[in-house]
Symmetry: C3
Subunit: 677 residues, 3 copies
């Protein structure tokens, strides 16, 4: 692919942060100090105005933008660019007082009181109008400024509303989706069960907590509608912005772990993907390198939404956050490692929430570059500054991208459907963790993997991993069949192809929609294991893999057996199979088998697909960013040990060292190797 620079005016990578000068307007000394220290810390961009509505417009119709104009100007003069937010992430109190319909109604049907931030009704015409007004004003005052390089829309979209307006829009959305034919909806939701048939769309209510909580179709469509409605709102902001400032790109910041919105849908509307990365580093439930692998997975999720360009890590915490169960400080060196991981995974930015800790309120202890202490000689400041230096050294990586040849299928509505399954065990469904563990398995082989929606094009890939692909979107089964028959390597697991997009079970044998022919197996039963239970997969080569949580009992339908169950009444029956199909192979892993024991299958798939893999020690994370003939290989030591990687050739542009053979990485060290062209 071609190099694609997100911000041409920034020569290299962005080192930025949220900046809230409006909290310090009575302290010009501090504002002056800010600029000085930003320059010292190599900050080249800030996000402004995210929560400034009540300062822009302290009462309805009274506007104050002077301070903002002055700030943008001052920053620009000092070489610092501005990402300007639309302030719709939090409303001023006067708005709720005057227009209470802008506030949400909760899942009990109770109107919420004013408070928090993202809790406006996305359907509210009044709210849209007020947002429109303030955005117009904002664009008037700042739109043409050369320092402003991007719009950040609202902030961290999320939540739901159950008000009458939303209920009506939901009914309209359903009527539209089901061709105004209530019997189609009744069939799709299997409403004859428990006498749940509706006779009119206007009888349908959202899944109120004290209402209908037993209709899976309703649950799923409500989630789809919530994304649809949020997106509809977001589009209304984007439309206006494109009108007012045609040249400026738009983004909004997605959140790790947030499962209430299908980000794949919203991504379509954005010019650039950005997200906020806040893993619980140094937690006590897993080794540090696993936390880093999980974070790498989420980087891949975000990166894969727009494969042809870099993404942005819009927020991360210098030091620590303030909302985890235990808010442990980042160990020395981890700040650089963590930030480098973002770049290694395809981000062209390392941005922080936030520049300076506010004196009060909910996030007064959230990590920031500048502490309440106010000094630039703190450990945190030194690490931020040091990272800023490092980003400069690797500025040529900006605009390059990752070109993955393997993909993992990951659908939000599949996740929602799995979480809502009435069966199995709610304690062990763990869709995200399972997906992440497959991603990690390939990461440890040095194989870069996209994480994509199942309706995305498969043409770029030689390997597809489809963990727990419970719900099949229309056409996916056919496209997988076509992928394999043309030579693709496909691996699926237990819980594949049980239901269609309405969550109606396929008849005639899982995996359904024709997939039991592709995989050459039929799943007759699925056994749910207690935590104290386990089973064993015994592979033909004598190796074994432990089984937890789920085990399907399979009928062969043409596939070859790779492993059998070792225990229980289904001992000796197939646990893992492979089916040669056309020019490719379809693997089926019938149980939740430890991924380590599947490593040989992954290697076999890579070899068949002609995808290179690497021998790297556990704890080293490897990525490659490219553009044209440029190649930058990132090696991250996610451990406290000194580790070596063999067969590395090129120049470590972080320290200028030439490597030809063994690369030695200190604790938490990163190397960025520029290959000889």
């Amino acid at each position: 692919m071609k190099k694609k620079s997100l911000f041409p005016v920034i020569n290299g990578l962005m080192h930025g942060c949220d900046y809230n000068p409006e909290q310090w307007l009575d302290r010009p000394d501090i504002l002056e100090e800010d600029i000085k220290m930003m320059k010292k810390a190599n900050i080249n961009a800030v996000s402004l105005g995210i929560f400034s509505w009540s300062v822009y417009e302290p009462s309805e119709g009274e506007y104050h933008f002077e301070w903002l104009e002055k700030t943008i100007d001052n920053l620009y003069k000092n070489g610092i660019y501005t990402i300007l937010a639309t302030p719709s992430g939090a409303r001023p109190a006067w708005l709720d007082e005057k227009y209470p319909e802008a506030m949400r109604t909760d899942c009990y049907g109770q109107k919420e009181h004013h408070g928090f931030r993202h809790n406006h009704c996305m359907s509210s015409p009044v709210y849209r109008e007020k947002v429109s007004n303030i955005i117009r004003k904002l664009a008037e005052h700042t739109g043409g400024h050369p320092g402003v390089i991007m719009w950040h829309i609202s902030n961290e979209f999320g939540g739901e509303c159950y008000c009458p307006l939303c209920v009506k829009r939901f009914q309209d959305y359903l009527a539209d989706k089901f061709d105004n034919d209530i019997s189609k909806l009744n069939h799709a939701w299997w409403n004859t069960f428990w006498s749940h048939n509706y006779s009119s769309f206007c009888q349908i209510e959202p899944p109120f907590a004290n209402g209908e909580r037993t209709n899976l179709g309703l649950d799923l469509e409500w989630k789809r509608f919530t994304t649809w409605n949020m997106n509809d709102y977001m589009k209304s902001e984007i439309k206006l912005l494109k009108e007012l400032t045609p040249g400026l790109p738009v983004t909004t910041n997605f959140m790790q772990f947030y499962s209430g919105l299908d980000y794949n849908v919203m991504a379509e509307e954005l010019d650039v993907i950005s997200w906020d990365s806040y893993p619980a580093l140094h937690n006590d439930s897993e080794p540090f390198y696993k936390t880093m692998e999980n974070n790498s997975f989420y980087h891949a999720v975000m990166r894969s939404m727009k494969r042809d360009r870099p993404f942005m890590m819009m927020e991360s915490a210098p030091g620590l956050v303030n909302w985890q169960e235990y808010n442990k400080v980042k160990r020395p060196g981890v700040h650089k490692l963590f930030s480098m991981q973002a770049v290694a995974c395809g981000s062209d930015t390392v941005q922080y929430f936030q520049w300076r800790k506010g004196r009060g309120s909910f996030e007064q202890y959230h990590g920031a570059v500048i502490d309440h202490l106010g000094k630039d000689d703190t450990r945190i400041f030194e690490e931020v500054k040091d990272l800023g230096d490092a980003l400069k050294k690797i500025s040529k990586t900006a605009g390059t991208v990752i070109e993955a040849k393997a993909a993992l299928l990951y659908d939000w509505d599949n996740k929602w459907a799995i979480e809502d399954i009435k069966g199995l065990s709610n304690n062990t469904k763990n869709y995200d963790a399972v997906c992440c563990s497959f991603y990690s398995a390939f990461l440890r082989l040095g194989i870069e993997m996209d994480v994509i929606a199942s309706d995305r094009d498969f043409a770029n890939y030689g390997i597809i991993i489809a963990p727990m692909l419970y719900m099949l979107r229309p056409g996916v089964a056919d496209r997988l069949e076509s992928f394999v028959s043309k030579g693709g390597q496909l691996l699926a697991t237990y819980l594949t192809g049980y239901v269609d997009i309405n969550q109606l079970c396929y008849l005639g044998g899982f995996p359904g929609d024709g997939l039991n022919k592709l995989f050459g197996v039929i799943s007759e039963e699925i056994d749910t294991l207690y935590p104290s239970d386990s089973n064993l997969a015994k592979f033909k080569d004598g190796s074994e893999g432990s089984i937890k949580d789920y085990a399907e009992i399979l009928r062969l339908n043409g596939a070859e057996v790779l492993a059998e169950y070792g225990y229980d009444f289904y001992k000796g029956t197939p646990a893992v199979t492979a089916h040669s199909y056309g020019k490719g192979t379809a693997y089926y892993v019938g149980a939740r088998i430890c991924n380590d024991s599947l490593r040989r299958i992954f290697l076999e798939m890579a070899e068949k697909a002609g995808i290179e893999y690497k021998k790297i020690p556990l704890g080293i994370e490897y990525h490659k960013r490219t553009a044209g003939r440029e190649n930058y290989e990132f090696y991250l030591n996610n451990t406290e040990d000194v580790l070596s990687v063999e067969n590395v050739t090129g120049t470590n542009i972080l320290n200028g060292q030439n490597i030809d053979g063994v690369l030695v990485l200190e604790k938490y060290e990163t190397a960025v190797i520029e290959a000889s062209k």
Copy 2:
């Protein structure tokens, strides 16, 4: 007793299932397949129309019964009988839309939204009227059909309503109960405490979650009222049915573990008792045979409500259920064992929820005879068919009953009162588990035990066990005294006779109402043990029994000491006593002592009462069904080991084998021995 056949047209035991053809009206191929496979599986009855209201009457006044008539007819022609449900277990959406007063109000006083199923207001005149209408229509169309052999009323009654209508009915119920004299209620509820006196019945509200939660009398009467009101509703359906179809018996299906309704009260109105049995088989907290013993206890609870006739196991799951914490599949052979247990315990039916899995909605993964796969060669189908064969072989057991000579006292309002005790520890009250453990202890001795309300006749019994008989209904103390004085063997425990039916403590020493004379002990204090605490009962013969949770400190009042406490400041004081009284004995077990160490006392009681007991290995469950001179002995091997029972004589009618001496039972095997007459 005499043989009492529930369904004369069925020659033998019923093998049935819930059947929902209305879900497949667009698939006549499937409906045709259904009948064929039912016959193959030896199904001879189905339950129809349980949740069919919205198909019968998709909008108000528009009726469709053709499909039902056709189904009943078709089944009948194929030798399959119909149990027809009244569809009041779930309302169509149009009803709630048009008559919102039919929906319940929750314990916060909030009107619930439409959804789920059993959530209609039992007081609502509109709802009763609409139910009445649909039942009349139903009877019109199907009432006279020879294939219809029973009415199944509503489905799984449960829940409460706090709407103004229910509040008013509750006040009227109380006024009636307390002779329109508020001072009587005030005294009964001890309302002077915390200034809780009412000056009028219209001041009384149910125990709203945000209202009165500290009045024990109110709590208890609210539960009694809920049963009263639910029963009143059920009687309205029964009255109508008896009018429309005088010949047909009626039942409703009770639920295991459901403690919101006093089933003893509702049982009075029914012709036959039926219940839904869904234990968590193969769970990880107890051995399998204990789960089976617990289930046996619930069979006994249901069976004992009508001692003179068989009961029905109206629902059970082929394969698995979908709502337990871990939904593990039934191991091979367990289906037959589990179903045979029902028959052994006095059921004349083995029925399933359900015939065929629905494609969608809340129970799409609940076990069924026919899976989404749609085949009759699955493991589950084979096991169901095999069971059908076995039921035929033992068809002569139909109509026989269990004649128990021991009884365990079990009152719903005693359970409610214990759960509401403000004292002891809410973590360890465990009334059901304690009752069940006494039942198990006798089961292991081969002694059949009825589980009866304390106001039932004691004349049939030689032994009465009264675990935690905390609340004494009027007359019970006198009747127990009379029982013992005439030669009965009575055993009671800690927490006996503390309160009267209003939960007012007896003055003058527990157990009250004269029982401290009968038992010859007075309980001065009750010590609640932490889980890490324990004590020891040291018996006179040197044996010991461990003590957990509760220990009463007793004063002797004429009894003999059988065991003393081994530790703590009450070491050496009485823990277990016996009191010879008249011709019988009254045993008092003052602490929660491990039942194994009480075995000798149980044997002593049996010997004194002249009740036969057996030597059977742990894990074998034994029952005897009789009628006139017929005798059928059931031996169930509730373990995975091969076990032997000595001194068995007769013919195993399941396999035709004659036994004279040792009966060997394979893993999960059942034997049904017909004694030589």
Copy 3:
């Protein structure tokens, strides 16, 4: 100090109980028995009328005081005095029916239903008027009686109300506090963050559960307002009582563990402090002596509110309570020990809830002197009677007080602020436990410690311990500086001086407001440890102390290092420091270090401050009450072992024994040593 007798008419200590004769008006035999048994048990006072409103006034305007007058009279004739309650702790049902505005609105904005007891709206004019009426009537009928010696106001104040009236009062309270200038409030609450600025006071709502839960300033002021409003209500009762019966002292009973009200504020209005002491004795999470130390801490909290006079233990349980997780009975001897602890800590009363167990309702199993058994030969009665004898023997201790020379700073609003910190870990903040552990450490050295609000006078003390003094009230930093410079010994810990009274962080380095100069350290970071983490403090003398939960990374600012960290990236940096300042020393303990390892520092502080300490074995609790030249030393053996204390001289007035050297204490024994004058 001078001897200050609370009740001159009682010659010595009060032995009393709540008494509810209104529950037994239909049982004159029982009422007669009561007086006899009270005399036998050495009871000399009772609390009457706490929940009697519905008996005084069963319907509006209908009064019945005859029974009360008769009871007071009868008791008086038998030498038993009456503490008379205002009955406002629980309303009759007719009041809520007729004046629903008297009921509270919950944090969801829902009006509560009638029920429980303390749930009236403190702002309600109607409620105040009705209370006023009944108090006037009560005073009319009983006020002049010589048997009545005190008013007990309402009972166990607690809770909050969110009704419109309270919301309005809250807004007015805020407007008043912030000089009617909304920008002052906005700045104090840092409302620019998340666009939270208000433009008018009337936009401010309390922290509704479905409203604003992210504004720390709002949270804190709501708590302060709740105290203010409750106090305002209480003052309205006191004002009236002082008018009607000018001579009678007033109190209200505080509750252990209740953190919803700042008792220091309410204490100002009372003549005597009283409280209800209900620790979970014999629990399974700590040794018994630790439970006693914790209770001693709460005695100190209460005692210190009025240093110049004794306090009252208004409630305690004979036997057991009924609301703990496991309601274990008090072991023999513990009743006396526990009651003696109250006296040792400065109480002039030992009072019980309650005299006789009620037959029904919520507290029917709460311990009482007389059980449902109704006898005076129970273990509990004997122990109560024995205690009554003992109290007589030490009656000369009445009126003496504890004169502490050490103080621990403990602010309610500091506690609220710490609990609301968004950061650290909510699992390990444990403010109360940490304060208590410092109190215990000094108790084990025989050093008596006051527990005082930080704005109380420091002049009486030589040592001040300030654990987790997170929030600094105005002037406190200066006053501590002055305390140390004049020779005081001050010790503070991690989390000192982070915020001002609005919870705005100090700029320029914690501990703020100048304290980093006093302590000579600046805290740069605070690390939050997972439960599986730990660190070590390595002291200069080679000793070590384990560290859990929190560790600050310190910069030296003039202090001397006493201990360094042993592990982690901050190994070798200061963990504990001392700073000589003026004539005193300021110690800083930067981490949650095990108190045992700080013992030497405590001794050093005591030596420098010239405060005597004692060598007493672990498990012995020591207190000294004095007045003029009188001295009474209490030694409590809080263990089951026989323990000895050396260097004891004087007469044990409990048994008349003269001690000169070693005092031997049996299990749970108390000695009260009168020193030779």
